[in-house]
Symmetry: C2
Protein backbone atom coordinates (compact mmCIF):
# COMPACT_ATOMS: atom_id res chain seq x y z
CA UNK A 1 0.00 0.00 0.00
CA UNK A 2 1.42 3.39 -0.95
CA UNK A 3 1.65 5.82 1.92
CA UNK A 4 0.33 9.25 1.03
CA UNK A 5 1.93 12.22 2.72
CA UNK A 6 -0.62 14.79 3.83
CA UNK A 7 0.11 18.41 4.70
CA UNK A 8 -2.20 21.06 6.03
CA UNK A 9 -1.86 24.61 4.72
CA UNK A 10 -3.53 27.70 6.19
CA UNK A 11 -2.93 30.64 3.83
CA UNK A 12 -4.06 34.08 5.04
CA UNK A 13 -5.16 36.62 2.45
CA UNK A 14 -5.53 40.38 3.01
CA UNK A 15 -9.14 40.63 1.86
CA UNK A 16 -12.05 40.03 4.21
CA UNK A 17 -14.75 42.28 2.82
CA UNK A 18 -15.15 41.85 -0.95
CA UNK A 19 -16.96 38.49 -1.29
CA UNK A 20 -16.33 38.42 -5.02
CA UNK A 21 -12.56 38.67 -4.63
CA UNK A 22 -12.58 36.19 -1.74
CA UNK A 23 -14.48 33.61 -3.82
CA UNK A 24 -12.08 34.06 -6.74
CA UNK A 25 -9.16 33.27 -4.45
CA UNK A 26 -10.90 30.34 -2.76
CA UNK A 27 -11.91 28.92 -6.15
CA UNK A 28 -8.24 28.00 -6.64
CA UNK A 29 -8.80 25.32 -3.97
CA UNK A 30 -12.01 23.85 -5.34
CA UNK A 31 -12.25 20.69 -7.44
CA UNK A 32 -8.50 20.08 -7.38
CA UNK A 33 -7.48 16.43 -7.23
CA UNK A 34 -5.36 15.84 -4.11
CA UNK A 35 -6.46 19.08 -2.38
CA UNK A 36 -9.30 19.36 0.13
CA UNK A 37 -10.76 22.71 1.18
CA UNK A 38 -11.67 22.15 4.86
CA UNK A 39 -12.79 25.63 5.77
CA UNK A 40 -12.47 29.31 5.05
CA UNK A 41 -13.60 32.33 6.99
CA UNK A 42 -13.36 36.07 6.53
CA UNK A 43 -13.20 38.83 9.11
CA UNK A 44 -14.36 42.28 8.06
CA UNK A 45 -12.62 44.15 10.89
CA UNK A 46 -9.35 42.39 10.16
CA UNK A 47 -10.10 42.62 6.42
CA UNK A 48 -8.55 39.20 6.13
CA UNK A 49 -9.52 35.67 5.08
CA UNK A 50 -8.10 32.45 6.45
CA UNK A 51 -8.32 29.26 4.38
CA UNK A 52 -7.74 25.76 5.78
CA UNK A 53 -6.57 23.12 3.31
CA UNK A 54 -5.31 19.57 3.44
CA UNK A 55 -3.61 17.79 0.60
CA UNK A 56 -0.69 15.96 -0.90
CA UNK A 57 2.39 18.16 -1.20
CA UNK A 58 2.57 18.64 -5.00
CA UNK A 59 -1.09 19.48 -5.77
CA UNK A 60 -1.35 21.51 -2.56
CA UNK A 61 1.67 23.64 -3.57
CA UNK A 62 0.29 24.12 -7.08
CA UNK A 63 -3.09 25.30 -5.74
CA UNK A 64 -1.49 27.67 -3.22
CA UNK A 65 0.78 29.19 -5.85
CA UNK A 66 -2.23 29.72 -8.13
CA UNK A 67 -4.13 31.44 -5.30
CA UNK A 68 -1.14 33.66 -4.55
CA UNK A 69 -1.25 34.78 -8.18
CA UNK A 70 -4.95 35.59 -8.00
CA UNK A 71 -4.48 37.44 -4.70
CA UNK A 72 -1.57 39.47 -6.14
CA UNK A 73 -3.78 40.48 -9.04
CA UNK A 74 -6.93 41.32 -7.05
CA UNK A 75 -5.58 42.86 -3.84
CA UNK A 76 -3.92 46.28 -3.83
CA UNK A 77 -2.02 46.60 -0.54
CA UNK A 78 -1.60 50.37 -1.03
CA UNK A 79 -5.36 50.59 -0.31
CA UNK A 80 -5.64 47.90 2.36
CA UNK A 81 -6.96 48.78 5.80
CA UNK A 82 -7.62 46.38 8.64
CA UNK A 83 -6.89 45.70 12.31
CA UNK A 84 -4.73 42.66 11.82
CA UNK A 85 -1.00 43.16 11.11
CA UNK A 86 -0.27 42.37 7.44
CA UNK A 87 2.39 42.92 4.80
CA UNK A 88 1.10 41.23 1.64
CA UNK A 89 -1.93 40.30 -0.48
CA UNK A 90 -1.09 36.73 0.47
CA UNK A 91 0.17 37.57 3.93
CA UNK A 92 1.30 34.30 5.41
CA UNK A 93 1.35 30.67 4.23
CA UNK A 94 2.18 28.02 6.87
CA UNK A 95 2.57 24.36 5.87
CA UNK A 96 1.90 21.81 8.62
CA UNK A 97 2.60 18.06 8.68
CA UNK A 98 -0.64 16.10 9.16
CA UNK A 99 -0.16 12.45 8.25
CA UNK A 100 2.85 10.35 7.18
CA UNK A 101 4.63 13.69 6.90
CA UNK A 102 7.43 15.31 8.88
CA UNK A 103 8.45 18.90 9.55
CA UNK A 104 11.04 18.36 6.79
CA UNK A 105 8.25 17.62 4.32
CA UNK A 106 6.48 20.82 5.38
CA UNK A 107 9.71 22.82 4.99
CA UNK A 108 10.23 21.33 1.53
CA UNK A 109 6.71 22.36 0.51
CA UNK A 110 7.25 25.87 1.90
CA UNK A 111 10.53 26.36 0.03
CA UNK A 112 9.11 25.01 -3.25
CA UNK A 113 6.00 27.21 -2.94
CA UNK A 114 8.03 30.33 -2.08
CA UNK A 115 10.42 29.76 -4.98
CA UNK A 116 7.72 29.13 -7.58
CA UNK A 117 5.44 31.99 -6.46
CA UNK A 118 8.31 34.50 -6.30
CA UNK A 119 9.42 33.57 -9.82
CA UNK A 120 5.94 33.55 -11.33
CA UNK A 121 4.62 36.74 -9.73
CA UNK A 122 7.84 38.63 -8.90
CA UNK A 123 6.99 38.59 -5.17
CA UNK A 124 9.44 39.18 -2.30
CA UNK A 125 9.06 36.17 0.03
CA UNK A 126 10.47 35.38 3.46
CA UNK A 127 10.72 31.87 4.85
CA UNK A 128 9.67 31.76 8.53
CA UNK A 129 9.32 29.47 11.58
CA UNK A 130 10.73 26.00 10.92
CA UNK A 131 11.53 26.98 7.32
CA UNK A 132 13.46 30.13 8.38
CA UNK A 133 16.98 30.55 6.98
CA UNK A 134 18.22 32.40 10.05
CA UNK A 135 17.17 32.83 13.68
CA UNK A 136 15.83 36.39 13.10
CA UNK A 137 13.26 35.12 10.64
CA UNK A 138 11.75 32.36 12.77
CA UNK A 139 9.24 34.65 14.44
CA UNK A 140 6.49 35.82 12.09
CA UNK A 141 5.92 39.01 14.13
CA UNK A 142 9.56 40.02 13.61
CA UNK A 143 9.40 39.30 9.89
CA UNK A 144 6.17 41.27 9.51
CA UNK A 145 7.32 44.18 11.70
CA UNK A 146 6.77 47.51 9.90
CA UNK A 147 3.84 45.96 8.02
CA UNK A 148 3.12 46.64 4.35
CA UNK A 149 3.83 50.36 4.70
CA UNK A 150 7.32 49.74 6.10
CA UNK A 151 8.40 46.99 3.72
CA UNK A 152 9.89 49.13 0.92
CA UNK A 153 12.43 50.50 3.38
CA UNK A 154 12.91 47.24 5.37
CA UNK A 155 13.87 45.26 2.27
CA UNK A 156 16.73 47.68 1.54
CA UNK A 157 18.38 46.55 4.77
CA UNK A 158 20.76 43.70 3.74
CA UNK A 159 19.72 41.70 6.86
CA UNK A 160 16.17 41.76 5.47
CA UNK A 161 16.88 40.73 1.89
CA UNK A 162 14.00 38.35 1.06
CA UNK A 163 14.76 34.62 0.73
CA UNK A 164 13.20 34.71 -2.72
CA UNK A 165 12.20 37.43 -5.18
CA UNK A 166 13.04 41.11 -5.53
CA UNK A 167 14.02 43.67 -2.86
CA UNK A 168 11.36 45.99 -4.22
CA UNK A 169 7.74 45.97 -3.11
CA UNK A 170 4.73 46.03 -5.45
CA UNK A 171 1.02 46.38 -4.75
CA UNK A 172 0.93 42.70 -3.70
CA UNK A 173 3.41 43.40 -0.90
CA UNK A 174 5.51 40.75 0.81
CA UNK A 175 4.60 37.19 1.79
CA UNK A 176 5.89 34.92 4.56
CA UNK A 177 5.88 31.21 3.74
CA UNK A 178 6.79 28.76 6.46
CA UNK A 179 6.48 25.40 8.14
CA UNK A 180 5.29 24.63 11.64
CA UNK A 181 3.75 21.94 13.78
CA UNK A 182 -0.04 21.96 14.11
CA UNK A 183 -1.08 24.55 16.63
CA UNK A 184 -3.68 23.57 19.21
CA UNK A 185 -5.69 26.42 20.75
CA UNK A 186 -6.53 25.16 24.23
CA UNK A 187 -7.93 27.02 27.22
CA UNK A 188 -8.19 25.88 30.83
CA UNK A 189 -11.01 27.42 32.90
CA UNK A 190 -10.52 28.25 36.57
CA UNK A 191 -13.07 28.43 39.36
CA UNK A 192 -12.44 32.08 40.22
CA UNK A 193 -13.23 35.51 38.79
CA UNK A 194 -9.79 36.79 39.72
CA UNK A 195 -8.00 37.61 36.45
CA UNK A 196 -4.75 38.20 38.28
CA UNK A 197 -4.63 34.52 39.23
CA UNK A 198 -5.16 33.39 35.62
CA UNK A 199 -2.42 35.78 34.55
CA UNK A 200 0.02 34.53 37.16
CA UNK A 201 -0.68 30.91 36.24
CA UNK A 202 -0.34 31.69 32.52
CA UNK A 203 3.03 33.31 33.17
CA UNK A 204 4.24 30.29 35.13
CA UNK A 205 3.22 27.61 32.62
CA UNK A 206 4.19 29.38 29.40
CA UNK A 207 7.62 29.04 27.85
CA UNK A 208 8.85 32.63 28.16
CA UNK A 209 7.98 32.67 31.86
CA UNK A 210 10.00 29.54 32.68
CA UNK A 211 7.23 27.07 31.87
CA UNK A 212 6.67 24.51 29.16
CA UNK A 213 8.72 24.66 25.96
CA UNK A 214 5.80 24.67 23.46
CA UNK A 215 3.22 26.70 25.35
CA UNK A 216 2.18 30.32 24.82
CA UNK A 217 -0.50 31.70 27.10
CA UNK A 218 -2.25 34.54 28.86
CA UNK A 219 -5.02 35.11 31.37
CA UNK A 220 -8.47 35.97 29.99
CA UNK A 221 -11.69 36.88 31.83
CA UNK A 222 -14.92 35.11 30.77
CA UNK A 223 -17.08 37.90 32.09
CA UNK A 224 -20.48 36.38 31.34
CA UNK A 225 -19.61 33.24 33.25
CA UNK A 226 -17.83 35.09 36.04
CA UNK A 227 -14.70 32.97 35.69
CA UNK A 228 -11.23 33.33 34.20
CA UNK A 229 -9.16 31.10 31.96
CA UNK A 230 -5.61 30.41 30.95
CA UNK A 231 -5.86 30.85 27.18
CA UNK A 232 -3.09 29.04 25.32
CA UNK A 233 -1.55 28.14 22.00
CA UNK A 234 0.20 24.80 22.20
CA UNK A 235 2.78 24.99 19.43
CA UNK A 236 3.94 21.36 19.52
CA UNK A 237 1.41 18.97 21.05
CA UNK A 238 3.74 16.00 20.54
CA UNK A 239 6.54 17.46 22.66
CA UNK A 240 4.36 19.44 25.08
CA UNK A 241 1.15 17.37 25.32
CA UNK A 242 -2.12 18.91 26.49
CA UNK A 243 -2.32 16.76 29.64
CA UNK A 244 1.01 18.15 30.82
CA UNK A 245 -0.18 21.73 30.78
CA UNK A 246 -3.47 20.72 32.45
CA UNK A 247 -1.62 19.03 35.30
CA UNK A 248 0.86 21.89 35.63
CA UNK A 249 -1.98 24.43 35.78
CA UNK A 250 -3.68 22.22 38.39
CA UNK A 251 -0.49 22.26 40.48
CA UNK A 252 -0.04 26.03 40.14
CA UNK A 253 -3.73 26.73 40.81
CA UNK A 254 -3.56 24.77 44.05
CA UNK A 255 -1.46 27.45 45.70
CA UNK A 256 -4.30 29.92 45.08
CA UNK A 257 -6.90 27.42 46.30
CA UNK A 258 -8.47 27.54 42.85
CA UNK A 259 -9.87 24.47 41.03
CA UNK A 260 -9.83 23.73 37.31
CA UNK A 261 -13.49 23.77 36.26
CA UNK A 262 -13.15 22.78 32.61
CA UNK A 263 -11.28 23.34 29.40
CA UNK A 264 -11.93 24.31 25.79
CA UNK A 265 -10.53 23.27 22.46
CA UNK A 266 -10.81 26.06 19.89
CA UNK A 267 -10.98 25.05 16.25
CA UNK A 268 -9.46 21.89 14.84
CA UNK A 269 -7.12 19.63 16.73
CA UNK A 270 -5.21 16.56 15.52
CA UNK A 271 -6.59 13.28 16.87
CA UNK A 272 -3.20 12.40 18.35
CA UNK A 273 -3.28 15.46 20.64
CA UNK A 274 -6.32 13.84 22.33
CA UNK A 275 -5.31 10.17 22.20
CA UNK A 276 -2.03 11.13 23.94
CA UNK A 277 -4.15 12.45 26.84
CA UNK A 278 -6.30 9.30 27.01
CA UNK A 279 -3.06 7.30 26.97
CA UNK A 280 -1.65 9.33 29.86
CA UNK A 281 -4.69 9.45 32.12
CA UNK A 282 -5.51 5.76 31.72
CA UNK A 283 -1.87 4.64 31.59
CA UNK A 284 -2.37 2.71 28.33
CA UNK A 285 0.77 0.62 27.84
CA UNK A 286 2.50 0.40 24.45
CA UNK A 287 -0.23 2.44 22.78
CA UNK A 288 0.17 3.11 19.08
CA UNK A 289 -1.87 5.23 16.66
CA UNK A 290 -2.05 2.04 14.56
CA UNK A 291 -4.56 0.81 17.14
CA UNK A 292 -6.96 3.58 16.20
CA UNK A 293 -9.40 2.37 13.55
CA UNK A 294 -9.53 5.76 11.83
CA UNK A 295 -5.78 5.70 11.19
CA UNK A 296 -6.50 2.93 8.68
CA UNK A 297 -9.49 4.63 7.12
CA UNK A 298 -7.44 7.56 5.87
CA UNK A 299 -4.94 5.56 3.81
Amino acid sequence: MSVKKLLQCVPNFSEGRDKDKIEKIVDCFRGKEGVKLLDYSSDEDHNRSVVTLVGEPAPLQAAVVAAMGVAAELIDMTKHEGQHPRMGATDVVPFIPVKNATTEDAIEAAVATAKEASEKFNLPIFLYEDAATCADRKNLATVRKGQYEGMAEKLQDPTWKPDFGPTTVGTAGVTAVGARMPLVAFNVNLGTDNLEIADKIAKSVRHIGGGLRYCKGMGVALEERGIVQVSMNMTNYQKTPLYRVVELIRAEAKRWGVPIVGSELIGLCPMEALTMCAEYYMGIEAFSMEQVLETHLME
Copy 2:
Protein backbone atom coordinates in the same frame (compact mmCIF):
# COMPACT_ATOMS: atom_id res chain seq x y z
CA MET B 1 -20.51 17.08 0.09
CA SER B 2 -22.03 13.61 0.04
CA VAL B 3 -21.67 11.77 3.33
CA LYS B 4 -20.49 8.20 2.90
CA LYS B 5 -21.75 5.63 5.37
CA LEU B 6 -19.02 3.29 6.51
CA LEU B 7 -19.56 -0.07 8.16
CA GLN B 8 -17.02 -2.46 9.57
CA CYS B 9 -17.54 -6.20 9.03
CA VAL B 10 -15.59 -8.98 10.78
CA PRO B 11 -16.54 -12.30 9.17
CA ASN B 12 -15.18 -15.47 10.82
CA PHE B 13 -14.50 -18.49 8.60
CA SER B 14 -13.99 -22.07 9.82
CA GLU B 15 -10.64 -22.59 8.15
CA GLY B 16 -7.38 -21.62 9.83
CA ARG B 17 -4.90 -24.15 8.47
CA ASP B 18 -5.12 -24.47 4.68
CA LYS B 19 -3.45 -21.28 3.38
CA ASP B 20 -4.68 -21.91 -0.13
CA LYS B 21 -8.33 -22.02 0.92
CA ILE B 22 -7.88 -19.00 3.24
CA GLU B 23 -6.40 -16.93 0.42
CA LYS B 24 -9.24 -17.89 -1.93
CA ILE B 25 -11.76 -16.61 0.64
CA VAL B 26 -9.80 -13.44 1.41
CA ASP B 27 -9.39 -12.73 -2.33
CA CYS B 28 -13.09 -11.84 -2.36
CA PHE B 29 -12.14 -8.70 -0.37
CA ARG B 30 -9.20 -7.58 -2.51
CA GLY B 31 -9.37 -4.91 -5.19
CA LYS B 32 -13.05 -4.20 -4.60
CA GLU B 33 -14.09 -0.57 -5.00
CA GLY B 34 -15.67 0.64 -1.75
CA VAL B 35 -14.25 -2.21 0.36
CA LYS B 36 -11.03 -2.08 2.35
CA LEU B 37 -9.37 -5.20 3.78
CA LEU B 38 -7.87 -3.95 7.06
CA ASP B 39 -6.56 -7.22 8.43
CA TYR B 40 -6.95 -10.98 8.50
CA SER B 41 -5.48 -13.57 10.79
CA SER B 42 -5.74 -17.33 11.09
CA ASP B 43 -5.43 -19.54 14.15
CA GLU B 44 -4.42 -23.15 13.60
CA ASP B 45 -5.64 -24.40 16.99
CA HIS B 46 -9.00 -22.75 16.49
CA ASN B 47 -8.90 -23.71 12.79
CA ARG B 48 -10.52 -20.38 12.11
CA SER B 49 -9.76 -17.12 10.26
CA VAL B 50 -10.99 -13.67 11.19
CA VAL B 51 -11.15 -10.94 8.53
CA THR B 52 -11.54 -7.24 9.30
CA LEU B 53 -13.14 -5.10 6.61
CA VAL B 54 -14.41 -1.57 6.27
CA GLY B 55 -16.59 -0.35 3.47
CA GLU B 56 -19.73 1.23 2.15
CA PRO B 57 -22.80 -0.93 2.78
CA ALA B 58 -23.60 -2.11 -0.76
CA PRO B 59 -20.13 -3.17 -1.95
CA LEU B 60 -19.30 -4.56 1.51
CA GLN B 61 -22.41 -6.77 1.45
CA ALA B 62 -21.63 -7.95 -2.10
CA ALA B 63 -18.07 -8.92 -1.15
CA VAL B 64 -19.18 -10.71 2.03
CA VAL B 65 -21.85 -12.67 0.14
CA ALA B 66 -19.25 -13.70 -2.46
CA ALA B 67 -16.88 -14.87 0.29
CA MET B 68 -19.68 -16.85 1.96
CA GLY B 69 -20.17 -18.65 -1.36
CA VAL B 70 -16.46 -19.48 -1.66
CA ALA B 71 -16.35 -20.65 1.97
CA ALA B 72 -19.43 -22.87 1.45
CA GLU B 73 -17.73 -24.46 -1.52
CA LEU B 74 -14.27 -24.97 0.04
CA ILE B 75 -15.05 -25.83 3.67
CA ASP B 76 -16.63 -29.15 4.61
CA MET B 77 -17.94 -28.79 8.15
CA THR B 78 -18.38 -32.57 8.50
CA LYS B 79 -14.56 -32.75 8.62
CA HIS B 80 -13.90 -29.58 10.64
CA GLU B 81 -11.99 -29.82 13.91
CA GLY B 82 -10.91 -26.90 16.07
CA GLN B 83 -11.03 -25.55 19.62
CA HIS B 84 -13.30 -22.59 18.92
CA PRO B 85 -17.08 -23.16 18.96
CA ARG B 86 -18.43 -23.07 15.39
CA MET B 87 -21.47 -24.07 13.36
CA GLY B 88 -20.75 -23.03 9.77
CA ALA B 89 -18.13 -22.59 7.03
CA THR B 90 -18.84 -18.89 7.40
CA ASP B 91 -19.48 -19.02 11.11
CA VAL B 92 -20.40 -15.49 12.09
CA VAL B 93 -20.70 -12.15 10.26
CA PRO B 94 -21.10 -9.04 12.45
CA PHE B 95 -21.70 -5.63 10.86
CA ILE B 96 -20.61 -2.64 12.91
CA PRO B 97 -21.34 1.08 12.38
CA VAL B 98 -18.08 3.02 11.91
CA LYS B 99 -18.76 6.43 10.40
CA ASN B 100 -21.92 8.35 9.48
CA ALA B 101 -23.69 5.05 10.16
CA THR B 102 -26.09 3.91 12.86
CA THR B 103 -26.94 0.54 14.36
CA GLU B 104 -29.95 0.59 12.02
CA ASP B 105 -27.63 0.79 9.01
CA ALA B 106 -25.68 -2.18 10.36
CA ILE B 107 -28.91 -4.16 10.90
CA GLU B 108 -30.01 -3.34 7.36
CA ALA B 109 -26.71 -4.63 5.97
CA ALA B 110 -26.96 -7.78 8.09
CA VAL B 111 -30.50 -8.57 6.92
CA ALA B 112 -29.66 -7.91 3.25
CA THR B 113 -26.53 -10.07 3.45
CA ALA B 114 -28.34 -12.92 5.23
CA LYS B 115 -31.19 -12.87 2.70
CA GLU B 116 -28.97 -12.82 -0.38
CA ALA B 117 -26.50 -15.45 0.86
CA SER B 118 -29.26 -17.83 1.98
CA GLU B 119 -30.97 -17.57 -1.41
CA LYS B 120 -27.80 -17.93 -3.46
CA PHE B 121 -26.19 -20.76 -1.52
CA ASN B 122 -29.18 -22.41 0.20
CA LEU B 123 -27.72 -21.66 3.65
CA PRO B 124 -29.65 -21.62 6.94
CA ILE B 125 -28.93 -18.23 8.56
CA PHE B 126 -29.75 -16.76 11.96
CA LEU B 127 -29.80 -13.05 12.66
CA TYR B 128 -28.14 -12.26 16.04
CA GLU B 129 -27.32 -9.43 18.49
CA ASP B 130 -28.88 -6.13 17.42
CA ALA B 131 -30.26 -7.77 14.25
CA ALA B 132 -31.93 -10.61 16.20
CA THR B 133 -35.65 -11.20 15.51
CA CYS B 134 -36.32 -12.41 19.06
CA ALA B 135 -34.67 -12.16 22.47
CA ASP B 136 -33.40 -15.77 22.38
CA ARG B 137 -31.30 -15.06 19.32
CA LYS B 138 -29.49 -11.97 20.60
CA ASN B 139 -26.69 -13.93 22.24
CA LEU B 140 -24.38 -15.61 19.72
CA ALA B 141 -23.43 -18.35 22.20
CA THR B 142 -27.10 -19.37 22.52
CA VAL B 143 -27.57 -19.39 18.75
CA ARG B 144 -24.43 -21.47 18.22
CA LYS B 145 -25.14 -23.87 21.10
CA GLY B 146 -24.88 -27.48 19.90
CA GLN B 147 -22.32 -26.38 17.30
CA TYR B 148 -22.22 -27.77 13.77
CA GLU B 149 -22.80 -31.33 14.92
CA GLY B 150 -25.99 -30.39 16.76
CA MET B 151 -27.52 -28.13 14.11
CA ALA B 152 -29.41 -30.75 12.05
CA GLU B 153 -31.49 -31.58 15.11
CA LYS B 154 -31.66 -28.01 16.50
CA LEU B 155 -33.16 -26.65 13.27
CA GLN B 156 -36.05 -29.08 13.50
CA ASP B 157 -37.17 -27.32 16.68
CA PRO B 158 -39.72 -24.69 15.53
CA THR B 159 -38.23 -22.14 17.97
CA TRP B 160 -34.94 -22.53 16.07
CA LYS B 161 -36.26 -22.19 12.54
CA PRO B 162 -33.59 -20.08 10.79
CA ASP B 163 -34.45 -16.47 9.90
CA PHE B 164 -33.48 -17.23 6.30
CA GLY B 165 -32.89 -20.42 4.29
CA PRO B 166 -33.72 -24.09 4.79
CA THR B 167 -34.19 -26.04 8.04
CA THR B 168 -31.76 -28.65 6.72
CA VAL B 169 -28.01 -28.47 7.20
CA GLY B 170 -25.46 -29.07 4.44
CA THR B 171 -21.67 -29.35 4.57
CA ALA B 172 -21.46 -25.53 4.86
CA GLY B 173 -23.41 -25.61 8.12
CA VAL B 174 -25.24 -22.64 9.59
CA THR B 175 -24.23 -18.95 9.71
CA ALA B 176 -25.06 -16.18 12.17
CA VAL B 177 -25.23 -12.70 10.64
CA GLY B 178 -25.70 -9.75 12.97
CA ALA B 179 -25.15 -6.14 13.90
CA ARG B 180 -23.40 -4.76 16.94
CA MET B 181 -21.52 -1.76 18.25
CA PRO B 182 -17.73 -1.81 17.90
CA LEU B 183 -16.24 -3.91 20.66
CA VAL B 184 -13.24 -2.51 22.51
CA ALA B 185 -10.95 -5.08 24.18
CA PHE B 186 -9.55 -3.21 27.16
CA ASN B 187 -7.60 -4.50 30.17
CA VAL B 188 -6.73 -2.71 33.40
CA ASN B 189 -3.58 -3.88 35.19
CA LEU B 190 -3.40 -4.01 38.98
CA GLY B 191 -0.39 -3.72 41.26
CA THR B 192 -0.80 -7.13 42.87
CA ASP B 193 -0.22 -10.80 42.01
CA ASN B 194 -3.44 -11.83 43.74
CA LEU B 195 -5.76 -13.19 41.04
CA GLU B 196 -8.65 -13.37 43.48
CA ILE B 197 -8.65 -9.56 43.74
CA ALA B 198 -8.76 -9.15 39.94
CA ASP B 199 -11.62 -11.65 39.82
CA LYS B 200 -13.57 -9.88 42.54
CA ILE B 201 -13.12 -6.51 40.86
CA ALA B 202 -14.09 -7.96 37.45
CA LYS B 203 -17.26 -9.36 38.97
CA SER B 204 -18.16 -6.03 40.52
CA VAL B 205 -17.64 -3.87 37.42
CA ARG B 206 -19.13 -6.18 34.80
CA HIS B 207 -22.78 -6.08 33.84
CA ILE B 208 -23.88 -9.53 35.03
CA GLY B 209 -22.37 -8.91 38.47
CA GLY B 210 -24.25 -5.63 39.02
CA GLY B 211 -21.73 -3.39 37.30
CA LEU B 212 -21.68 -1.39 34.11
CA ARG B 213 -24.25 -2.11 31.40
CA TYR B 214 -21.82 -2.63 28.48
CA CYS B 215 -18.91 -4.32 30.24
CA LYS B 216 -17.92 -7.99 30.21
CA GLY B 217 -14.86 -8.97 32.20
CA MET B 218 -12.80 -11.47 34.13
CA GLY B 219 -9.62 -11.61 36.18
CA VAL B 220 -6.46 -12.79 34.41
CA ALA B 221 -2.94 -13.40 35.80
CA LEU B 222 0.01 -11.92 33.88
CA GLU B 223 2.42 -14.46 35.31
CA GLU B 224 5.62 -13.16 33.71
CA ARG B 225 5.03 -9.71 35.13
CA GLY B 226 3.79 -10.99 38.48
CA ILE B 227 0.62 -8.89 38.28
CA VAL B 228 -3.05 -9.46 37.50
CA GLN B 229 -5.51 -7.65 35.29
CA VAL B 230 -9.20 -7.08 34.79
CA SER B 231 -9.59 -8.23 31.19
CA MET B 232 -12.67 -6.74 29.53
CA ASN B 233 -14.77 -6.45 26.43
CA MET B 234 -16.52 -3.11 26.30
CA THR B 235 -19.55 -3.75 24.10
CA ASN B 236 -20.73 -0.15 23.73
CA TYR B 237 -18.00 2.43 24.32
CA GLN B 238 -20.42 5.30 23.69
CA LYS B 239 -22.79 4.32 26.50
CA THR B 240 -20.20 2.78 28.83
CA PRO B 241 -17.03 4.79 28.10
CA LEU B 242 -13.57 3.45 28.96
CA TYR B 243 -12.86 6.11 31.57
CA ARG B 244 -15.93 5.05 33.54
CA VAL B 245 -14.70 1.50 33.97
CA VAL B 246 -11.18 2.75 34.82
CA GLU B 247 -12.53 4.98 37.58
CA LEU B 248 -14.87 2.27 38.86
CA ILE B 249 -12.01 -0.24 38.98
CA ARG B 250 -9.92 2.39 40.79
CA ALA B 251 -12.67 2.78 43.39
CA GLU B 252 -13.12 -0.97 43.85
CA ALA B 253 -9.36 -1.61 43.97
CA LYS B 254 -8.99 0.93 46.76
CA ARG B 255 -10.72 -1.36 49.27
CA TRP B 256 -7.99 -3.95 48.60
CA GLY B 257 -5.26 -1.34 48.86
CA VAL B 258 -4.32 -2.12 45.26
CA PRO B 259 -3.34 0.55 42.69
CA ILE B 260 -4.02 0.59 38.96
CA VAL B 261 -0.59 0.29 37.32
CA GLY B 262 -1.59 0.59 33.68
CA SER B 263 -3.99 -0.53 31.00
CA GLU B 264 -3.95 -2.18 27.58
CA LEU B 265 -5.93 -1.77 24.41
CA ILE B 266 -6.07 -4.97 22.40
CA GLY B 267 -6.54 -4.67 18.65
CA LEU B 268 -8.34 -1.79 16.98
CA CYS B 269 -10.34 0.84 18.79
CA PRO B 270 -12.48 3.66 17.38
CA MET B 271 -10.95 7.12 17.82
CA GLU B 272 -14.03 8.31 19.70
CA ALA B 273 -13.49 5.72 22.45
CA LEU B 274 -10.25 7.57 23.26
CA THR B 275 -11.31 11.17 22.63
CA MET B 276 -14.21 10.62 25.06
CA CYS B 277 -11.61 9.83 27.74
CA ALA B 278 -9.51 12.91 26.95
CA GLU B 279 -12.75 14.92 27.10
CA TYR B 280 -13.61 13.48 30.52
CA TYR B 281 -10.20 13.75 32.19
CA MET B 282 -9.53 17.28 30.98
CA GLY B 283 -13.15 18.40 31.28
CA ILE B 284 -13.26 19.69 27.68
CA GLU B 285 -16.48 21.69 27.38
CA ALA B 286 -18.78 21.32 24.35
CA PHE B 287 -16.36 18.96 22.65
CA SER B 288 -17.38 17.62 19.25
CA MET B 289 -15.76 15.05 16.96
CA GLU B 290 -16.00 17.79 14.31
CA GLN B 291 -13.09 19.43 16.15
CA VAL B 292 -10.85 16.51 15.32
CA LEU B 293 -8.94 17.16 12.12
CA GLU B 294 -9.04 13.51 11.05
CA THR B 295 -12.85 13.51 11.07
CA HIS B 296 -12.62 15.75 8.01
CA LEU B 297 -9.91 13.75 6.29
CA MET B 298 -12.09 10.66 5.99
CA GLU B 299 -14.91 12.28 4.06
